[in-house]
């Protein structure tokens, strides 16, 4: 087969946009809505598996292991344990963009700030939630660290009501 590359040295690029839109239909999106609604009352809801007894947060319909329906909802603690953490490189203006915005320019993070992402196993849950750890320096975080939820002052039944976690100090 004669190659196009024998006629052209390089492939050519054709500019084009493809708007993939923002609409996705979920079979059951009320689960996450219900979870978010609970946050308004500072309640963190999980679903209990009647088969293995695991409590999964945020809730889900079917247990991933026993495939039983997880209809029963339970409230777990807003205190938990860090099971894993990842620390970002220092943020800098013009370094990265999220959804077309510069996080430093928009004031979301400070110049040189390092964001700590954590997986937290809340007391009473058998799964991790992923959130941000605030009020601790990157060198202070460790696996097994006890943390508690930081709640938004005015809660509106949104995922953002659970702002982050901070070290539990007694």
């Amino acid at each position: 087969m004669p190659y196009i590359k024998e006629e052209r040295k390089e492939t050519i690029s054709v500019e084009g946009d493809w708007d993939i839109g923002g609409s996705t239909t979920w079979k059951d999106s009320t689960l996450l809505q219900g979870y978010a609604q609970g946050l308004k009352e500072k309640r963190i809801i999980g679903s209990l598996c009647p088969g293995c007894g695991k409590v999964i947060v945020p809730p889900r319909n079917i247990c991933g292991r026993c495939h039983r329906k997880m209809d029963e909802k339970v409230v777990v603690s807003d205190i938990g344990t860090v099971t894993c953490f990842v620390i970002s490189a220092p943020f800098a203006k013009g370094k990265m963009q999220v959804l077309g915005m510069d996080p430093v320019e928009t004031g979301l993070v400070g110049e040189g700030e390092r964001v700590i992402s954590v997986y937290v196993k809340l007391d009473g849950a058998d799964s991790n939630i992923d959130t941000e750890l605030i009020g601790a320096k990157p060198e202070e975080v460790y696996v097994g660290m006890r943390v508690k939820a930081v709640w938004a002052k005015e809660r509106q039944g949104k995922l953002s009501d659970l702002e982050a976690v901070e070290p539990l100090r007694d």
């Binding site: 087969m1 040295k9 999106s29 689960l31 809505q33 999964i56 945020p58 490189a89 696996v143 039944g157």
Partner: protein, 412 residues
């Protein structure tokens, strides 16, 4: 079930931008090289299995474009797409086609042409992988700050970041061990003429000088986004013995999945996996594949491993899941040089995915590289010992879809 052997292998050169070929030409090159290696004409091929990551390179259904170019017109073509493990599953699908007796000669080919997307890397594909759940979360009031923290450890690198932290915590290994794996893989890649990131004489200190991406990963730990393709010719026993001096037998295979990905689960719910480095799917695949292959003690019977490791921690994790080292000890073997090209248990003598990542192709390349080692055709990166049995993996998703393939120089 019939015995199936690999009788020919073909790959293309991998680099960041293959502007000298278009997608169809690139895949065509790999298939042609494999047919030439096997001394099989396109007319003799009964069926094709093909695959790449869904939507990557900005082409939704590339198989419709490249059918003619690989000689598949008028023949059965099956496309397989299972994320990062695609190539492994493409090869396994070709195995099924021949083992079942349905076809005598099948070609498996897989590829990725990242640079065809407008943005480098895999943006087009990834947005459709994660978009649904992200939108669901935004609809439920996900804050921009939270989205930012998810993004900074986003995609496969993010998943692997957590995986690395879990493994390091569990096994007592450190970031220095990630440096050592990455340096070894780049040195190995320098011996592989098809590889992308070639760095002769690379040392762990060189890697440790690179910038942090997100702790515990440095820039030097991360795989590149490569353009490239690979292909293999599979045949039934009669044909393999007649046509090939040293056929490589597919002795055992399995591709198990585990629970859903943390972010991708239904309605963005949680999952019951606390430790992302557990990789139960890999253990299950390995047990099944070894049993099928008649391998009882992988530490003694496996001679070389090609592990899917876009991130260096994965070489350590999966080597343990494959039973090549005891639980939590792969990093000690690494320190002793056992995983080096001339070590006791060479891991990724080709440089692996850490040095070359044309995603769809990567897992097929692992099987292909094992075949080259058994055939003795790996040239400069051939391990300096007899290779009877080898094992290859593919990893797709966070905790699920792991393809394990065991190869050998005899079918039994």
């Amino acid at each position: 079930m019939r015995n199936v052997a690999i009788i020919g292998c073909g790959q293309t050169k991998h680099s960041a931008r293959r502007r000298d070929v278009n997608l169809a030409e690139m895949v065509g090159d790999a298939v042609w090289n494999a047919l030439e290696d096997a001394q099989v004409t396109p007319q003799e091929v009964d069926a094709f299995t093909v695959g790449n990551m869904q939507g990557f390179g900005g082409v939704a259904q590339p198989e419709q474009w490249l059918g003619d170019w690989i000689g598949a017109a008028g023949k059965p073509v099956l496309r397989v797409a299972t994320g990062g493990s695609t190539g492994g599953c493409v090869a396994q699908a070709a195995f099924y086609a021949v083992a079942s007796g349905l076809y005598d000669i099948a070609v498996a080919t897989a590829w990725e042409k990242h640079s065809d997307s407008k943005e480098p890397g895999a943006t087009t594909g990834l947005s459709h992988v994660a978009l649904g759940n992200t939108i669901n979360m935004i609809n439920c009031g996900l804050s921009f700050k939270h989205l930012l923290s998810m993004t900074l450890v986003g995609a496969a690198a993010g998943v692997a970041c957590y995986q690395a932290m879990y493994y390091m915590y569990r096994s007592g290994s450190r970031v220095e061990h990630l440096d050592m794996v990455a340096a070894k893989d780049r040195r190995n890649a320098a011996k592989n003429k098809y590889a992308h990131l070639q760095w002769p004489g690379c040392t762990p200190e060189d890697i440790a000088k690179t910038e942090w991406v997100a702790y515990p990963f440095r820039y030097g730990h991360i795989c590149p986004a490569s353009d490239g393709a690979s292909a293999m010719v599979l045949a039934c026993e009669d044909i393999a013995r007649k046509r090939c001096k040293k056929p490589v037998w597919i002795k055992g295979l399995a591709a198990y999945s585990d629970e859903e990905n943390q972010i991708m689960s239904e309605g963005a719910g949680g999952i019951g996996i606390l430790d992302a480095s557990q990789q139960i799917g890999a253990t299950m695949s390995a047990i099944k594949a070894y049993r099928m292959a008649g391998i009882r003690d992988p530490q003694k019977e496996i001679d070389v491993a090609e592990i899917y490791q876009p991130f260096p921690n994965q070489e350590l994790i999966f080597a343990e899941r494959l039973g090549l080292f005891d639980e939590g000890t792969a990093w000690r073997a690494l320190e002793k040089g056992e995983t080096d090209i001339n070590g006791r248990m060479p891991c990724d003598p080709s440089g692996g995915v850490n040095a070359t990542n044309a995603i769809g192709s990567s897992a097929l390349q692992r099987i292909l590289e094992c075949a080259l080692q058994i055939m003795g055709k790996a040239e400069e990166h051939q391990v300096p010992k007899e290779v009877h049995n080898a094992v290859a993996t593919g990893w797709g998703g966070a905790t699920n879809y792991i393809a394990v393939t065991v190869l050998g120089d005899s079918p039994y």
